[in-house]
C-alpha cells in the first residue's frame, strides 16, 4: 500500500517540492494538498506583473486543476488546516475534513506584516500578498484616485508601480531615509528614487506612520511628526513574517519560523517544513530561489534518494520587477572593514555598479541601470572563484582589465551540471542542456516553455542564452522574436503601458524612448503603433497616414495588379433603387471590369485605377464601407420581423443602428457583425466577432466568432431585453477589445488568449460598461468619412494622381 503524504499549503514552495518528488518516485505516495486560497497553485512573484498589466491571472497559474487530476493528487482549496495531531498522525481543517498522514509537509508560507496602527481595520487598508489583494487594488482604482503605499522595499515599490499603472496617484511612505535599504546601498538607492519620481511616484521618506484616519473607509494617514496626507487606499508592504501559528499550536518548535535542520525535518518526527515558513540556521528566507533548493532536498529525502549534505543555506539575489528600472542585488553588498569594493558610477546614463570582495572572492554586488552582468556576477558569488588580480574585470568585463576575464559563454561552459541557472524555478544547467540536446530547444523561449528556466523574473535570460550558444554554437541559435516585431523585444502590453505611462503621442517618440533597433521601425510595428497611439490618445495622437498599410491609406483594397476595389457602405445590407441606379451608372462611367455582391451584403466594384478613386467617390456620394480596414466592416442582417413570418424582432433595424453607431471605428483587426431576427440565425451571427440573435422578448449577444481561416463558433456573452442594452453591451465589448487586443489579433484569438471569463468580468458591472462606452463615444465622435476628407483636401487628392512627364533631353 502507498504511504500517505499530506501537504499543507498550496503555494510555490510546497507544490514545487511535490513536483520534484513525483519525478523521483512517482508511485510512492498517495498525495493530499490543502490550500486556503480558492485557486490552483500560482506564481506569487508574478502578482506584480498582473498589477502592471503584463500578465493576466491565468498566465500566472503554475499548475492548473488538470495537473492535480493527472497526478492523482487530492486537492482541497478554500480549506485551512487548523490542527495537526503529531501522535495520531492526522490533520483537520476548519471545514471539518480530517486526513491521516504518514509524512506531513508544512508549507504555509508567510503572512504580510500588518502594522498594528489605530485604524488599520478600516475599509481600504490592504496588504499586497495574494490574488485577492490585486483584485481589490484594481477595483479601487476604478472608483478612487489616491493611493498610499507604506513600505519602500521591493514589495512596496512593485505595488506602487502597479497602482500607477492603474491610473492612481501614488505616494510611498518609508521609515528609512532611503529606498530598498536591504538590497541597495545609498548611491543606488538615490538613483532609483530619481528614476521612480520620473515615472510619477511620490516619496515620503523618514516618516513613521502613526494612525489611519477616516470613518468607515480610510481617508488619510497621520504620521508621528503630526503631519497628515489624504488617501483613498493604503497598501501595507512593510514586510512578511513566517506563518507559524499552526505549527506553534501543534507543539512544533518555532522561532521566527518553524525550525528545521539541513534535511528540512522539524522537531516532530514525520513532519517537515519548507519555504518561507521554515527557519534554517536562523534564517527564514523571503525569496523564491531558496524555496526550490529546500524543496529539492526534501523531495530527495521523501523519495528515499541520496540527499548528500542536505541543504546548506542559500546565497540570494533580487531583481526589482518595475518596468523601465533595472536593479539587481546579491549577497553582502554593504562595505565592511574587511571588504574592498569596485565601483562604477555614471550619472549621465544612470548606471551604477558595485562589486564587493572579501579575501579575493566576490561576496556581493549591486547593479543599477544595466543589470546584464547580474547572472555572471551572481555565478561568481556562488562559485566562490578567486578573482584576485582581476577584480576590475569582474565589474567592467574583459575589455577593462587586459582581456583575460571569461565571456558569458565560457563561464557557463565551466559550470557544473547541477548548478542552478534559473533561481526562480530551480532549473539546473544539466536540465537545460538536456532540453537543448534531447528536445531540440533552439531558442530561449523554447527552453522557457520546456523547462520554465527564465519564466519568472527573467533575470537569468542572458545566462540561458549563453548556455544555448555554448551547447549548439552561435549558428544554431534561433533568432529570438518576442517583441511586437523585430525592432524591439517589448510585447504589446509593455508598449501600450509605456504609451500610457509616459504620455507618448507619436510613433517617433515611442521608438526613441523604447529604443527601437530600427530607427523608423518596420512594416509590422509602424501600423501597430499608429493604432495603439490612436486608441490610447484619441484626441492627442495625430493620425500617421504614412504608417498605414496601403489599403487604409488609400481607403480602398489593393488588388494583385495594383488596381483597387471600391465598396460603398450599405447599412444593414439595405439599399434603394436610387442608390443601385447610381452605382450602376458609375460602374459604367469608369468602366469597372467586375461588379460583385460581397459576403457582407454589399456591392464591390473591382479593378479601379488609383487615379480614378477620388472622382468615383465624389460621384458615388456614399460613405466608405471600410471594406479595406481594421475597423467595423459590415453588419449582416436577415429580414427579421419586417417581412419574415418567423422573425421575432426587427433585425434589420437593429443592424442598421449598430452599423451607424460603430462605422469608421478603428479596431485591432477587422470586426464583422451580424443580427438575426430569430434563432434560425439566417444572418450567421454565430461566426461573427459580435453576433446578435433575437430571442423571445430580447436579444442574445454572441462574441468571438470567426468564419475565416480558423472556424470558431461564438460564445454567448449574455442576454438582454432592449435595443439600448444591445448598443451598450456592444460598445463596451468593442472598447474592451480595442483596449486589450493586440494589433492584428481578431476577437476570436483575443478571446482565446484572455478568456471569456475575463471579458465577462470586465463588462459585468453597469458602471464599467458605461465607462467603456464613454471612451468609445469619445473616439467615435472624432471620426470623419475618409472619402469625403480626401475629396475635400486637394493635397491628399493629388497623391492619387501620377506625375506624367514627357521624356525630353
Amino acid at each position: 500500500m502507498k504511504k500517505k503524504l499530506v501537504l499543507i499549503g498550496n503555494g510555490m514552495a510546497g507544490v514545487s517540492c511535490i513536483e520534484q518528488l513525483l519525478k523521483l518516485a512517482p508511485n510512492r505516495y498517495e498525495i493530499t494538498i490543502f490550500g486556503s486560497e480558492p485557486h490552483p497553485n500560482y506564481n506569487r512573484i508574478l502578482l506584480s506583473s498582473v498589477l502592471a498589466g503584463d500578465a493576466g491571472m491565468r498566465d500566472i497559474v503554475i499548475n492548473d486543476w488538470s495537473w492535480y487530476e493527472e497526478n492523482d493528487i487530492t486537492l482541497y482549496t478554500g480549506q485551512t488546516v487548523t490542527r495537526i495531531d503529531g501522535e495520531r498522525k492526522t490533520v483537520g481543517t476548519d471545514g471539518g475534513i480530517s486526513v491521516p498522514y504518514d509524512e506531513l509537509i508544512i508549507a504555509t508560507g508567510s503572512l504580510p506584516f500588518m502594522l498594528p496602527l489605530t485604524g488599520a481595520d478600516k475599509e481600504g487598508v490592504i496588504a499586497f500578498r495574494d490574488i485577492k489583494d490585486c483584485e481589490t487594488m484594481i477595483e479601487t482604482s476604478r472608483k478612487f484616485k489616491k493611493a498610499l503605499v507604506i513600505g519602500g522595499g521591493l514589495l512596496g515599490l512593485e505595488a506602487a508601480r502597479g497602482l500607477l499603472n492603474l491610473g492612481m496617484e501614488v505616494s510611498v511612505v518609508h521609515i528609512h531615509p532611503y529606498l530598498m535599504e536591504r538590497q541597495l546601498d545609498q548611491s543606488a538607492s538615490v538613483m532609483l528614487q530619481r528614476e521612480l519620481e520620473g515615472q510619477g511616484m511620490k516619496f515620503l521618506l523618514s516618516k513613521n506612520t502613526d494612525s489611519i484616519i477616516g470613518r468607515r473607509r480610510v481617508t488619510g494617514v497621520r504620521f508621528t511628526d503630526g503631519s497628515e496626507v489624504a488617501t483613498d487606499l493604503v497598501v501595507m508592504a512593510v514586510g512578511i513574517r513566517p506563518n507559524v501559528s499552526l505549527a506553534k499550536s501543534s507543539g512544533i518548535d518555532v522561532n521566527r519560523g518553524i525550525v528545521v535542520n539541513d534535511y528540512l525535518e522539524t522537531s516532530v518526527p514525520h513532519i517537515s517544513a519548507v519555504g518561507e515558513c521554515a527557519e534554517h540556521r536562523g534564517i527564514a528566507y523571503g525569496l523564491v530561489a531558496p524555496l526550490y533548493e529546500q524543496g529539492a532536498v526534501l523531495a530527495k529525502r521523501l523519495a528515499g534518494a541520496e540527499t548528500g549534505q542536505g541543504y546548506q543555506g542559500s546565497v540570494v539575489s533580487t531583481k526589482l520587477k518595475v518596468s523601465g528600472v533595472n536593479v539587481f542585488s546579491a549577497g553582502e553588498f554593504k562595505d565592511a572593514p574587511d571588504t574592498r569594493a569596485v565601483r562604477l558610477q555614471d550619472e549621465v546614463d544612470g548606471i551604477y555598479k558595485k562589486v564587493v570582495i572579501r579575501g579575493g572572492k566576490v561576496i556581493g554586488a549591486v547593479l543599477f541601470g544595466d543589470t546584464t552582468d547580474g547572472s555572471r556576477i551572481f555565478s561568481l558569488i556562488r562559485s566562490g572563484e578567486d578573482v584576485t588580480g582581476k577584480e576590475k574585470e569582474v565589474l567592467l568585463g574583459a575589455s577593462a582589465g587586459g582581456g583575460t576575464a571569461k565571456s558569458g559563454v565560457e563561464l557557463v561552459a565551466a559550470m557544473s551540471d547541477d548548478e542552478i541557472i534559473c533561481g526562480c524555478n530551480g532549473v539546473s544547467k544539466g536540465a537545460i542542456v538536456q532540453a537543448i540536446q534531447e528536445k531540440g530547444c533552439a531558442s530561449v523561449n523554447e527552453i522557457k516553455a520546456c523547462t520554465k528556466a527564465s519564466a519568472s523574473c527573467g533575470g537569468c535570460k542572458p545566462l540561458v542564452a549563453d548556455l544555448l550558444t555554448c551547447v549548439v554554437g552561435a549558428d544554431g541559435v534561433k533568432a529570438v522574436k518576442e517583441g511586437i516585431c523585430g525592432c524591439t523585444t517589448l510585447g504589446r502590453d509593455e508598449v501600450v503601458e509605456a504609451i500610457r505611462g509616459m504620455r507618448l503621442t507619436t510613433s517617433k517618440e515611442v521608438m526613441n524612448v523604447l529604443e527601437w533597433s530600427n530607427p523608423e521601425g518596420c512594416s509590422k510595428c509602424r501600423p501597430a503603433l499608429n493604432y495603439y497611439l490612436g486608441m490610447v490618445w484619441p484626441e492627442e495622437h495625430e493620425e500617421e497616414r504614412e504608417s498605414r498599410f496601403v489599403n487604409e491609406r488609400n481607403h480602398a483594397n489593393i488588388q494583385k495588379d495594383g488596381t483597387y476595389s471600391v465598396v460603398p457602405r450599405m447599412y444593414g445590407g439595405v439599399t434603394t433603387p436610387k442608390d443601385l441606379i447610381r452605382i450602376a451608372q458609375i460602374a459604367d462611367k469608369y468602366e469597372v471590369p467586375l461588379v460583385k455582391i460581397t459576403g457582407g451584403q454589399r456591392i464591390d466594384l473591382l479593378g479601379v485605377k488609383k487615379e480614378d478613386l477620388p472622382a468615383m467617390w465624389a460621384d458615388l456620394d456614399m460613405p466608405s464601407g471600410y471594406a479595406y480596414g481594421k475597423a467595423l466592416r459590415t453588419v449582416k442582417t436577415c429580414v427579421g420581423s419586417t417581412f419574415c413570418r418567423f422573425g421575432t424582432q426587427d433585425s434589420i433595424g437593429m443592424g442598421i443602428q449598430l452599423e451607424k453607431k460603430f462605422e469608421r471605428l478603428n479596431t485591432p483587426a477587422k470586426v464583422k457583425m451580424a443580427v438575426s431576427g430569430c434563432p434560425r440565425n439566417c444572418a450567421e451571427a454565430t461566426i461573427k466577432d459580435f453576433g446578435v440573435i433575437a430571442i423571445d422578448g430580447g436579444w442574445e449577444l454572441h462574441v468571438g466568432g470567426n468564419g475565416g481561416t480558423k472556424l470558431r463558433g461564438t460564445d454567448v456573452l449574455c442576454r438582454v431585453k432592449t435595443e439600448e442594452e444591445v448598443l451598450e453591451w456592444s460598445g463596451a465589448y468593442l472598447q474592451f477589445y480595442r483596449e486589450t487586443g493586440k494589433y492584428n489579433e481578431r476577437t476570436s484569438e483575443w478571446l482565446e488568449r484572455i478568456g471569456l471569463d475575463t471579458i465577462k468580468a470586465a463588462l459585468e458591472k453597469q458602471e464599467d460598461r458605461h465607462a467603456l462606452v464613454a471612451r468609445i463615444e469619445r473616439t467615435l465622435g472624432l471620426t470623419k468619412d475618409p472619402w469625403q476628407e480626401i475629396i475635400a483636401e486637394k493635397k491628399l487628392n493629388d497623391t492619387f494622381v501620377p506625375i506624367v512627364s514627357a521624356a525630353q533631353s
Binding site: N518, P519, E520, G521, C522, S523, R526, P527, R545, E546, S547, R548, F549, V550, R553, N554, I558, K560, D561, G562, D798, T799, P802, I803, V804, S805, A806, A807, Q808, S809
Partner: protein, 111 residues
C-alpha cells in the same frame, strides 16, 4: 542619359511617395524622413507590386503585396528574399525646389 524635371519638392510628404510616368516607364519617387529623395522602378521584383504604396522606414520600403524589404539607395532586396530593382539618380534644385530625374535612354526605350 536624360534629365527630366518632374515637379517640386513641396508636392511630396515625408515618408510618402509619388508615381512618375515617363512613357511606359513607371517610377516611384520617395521622400525620406531626412528630406532626401530616392527613385526606383515602381515594380517589386517578386510579383510586380507597386512599391510606391509601401511603408517607408528610413531608406527602405516594404512592398505592399508580400512585405519584401527593399533598400531604396542601392535597389537591393533585403534578406531572406533576393533580387534588385533599378534605381535612378535624383537631383534637387535647392533654390527653386525643382526635382530632376536622371534616366538612361535604354530604360525609356526598353520599357
Amino acid at each position: 542619359m536624360k534629365r527630366i524635371a518632374i515637379g517640386s519638392i513641396s508636392e511630396i510628404g515625408e515618408r510618402r511617395s509619388r508615381t512618375i510616368r515617363i512613357g511606359e516607364l513607371e517610377i516611384a519617387l520617395f521622400k525620406l524622413s531626412d528630406g532626401t529623395f530616392r527613385a526606383v522602378e515602381n515594380r517589386c521584383p517578386h510579383k510586380g507590386g507597386k512599391l510606391s504604396e509601401g511603408i517607408v522606414c528610413d531608406h527602405h520600403v516594404f512592398c505592399p503585396l508580400h512585405d519584401w524589404k527593399i533598400n531604396l539607395t542601392d535597389g537591393l532586396v533585403q534578406a531572406p528574399d533576393e533580387g534588385c530593382v533599378t534605381t535612378f539618380e535624383v537631383e534637387v534644385d535647392e533654390v527653386s525646389g525643382t526635382i530632376w530625374l536622371h534616366v538612361d535612354d535604354e530604360h525609356i526605350l526598353v520599357s
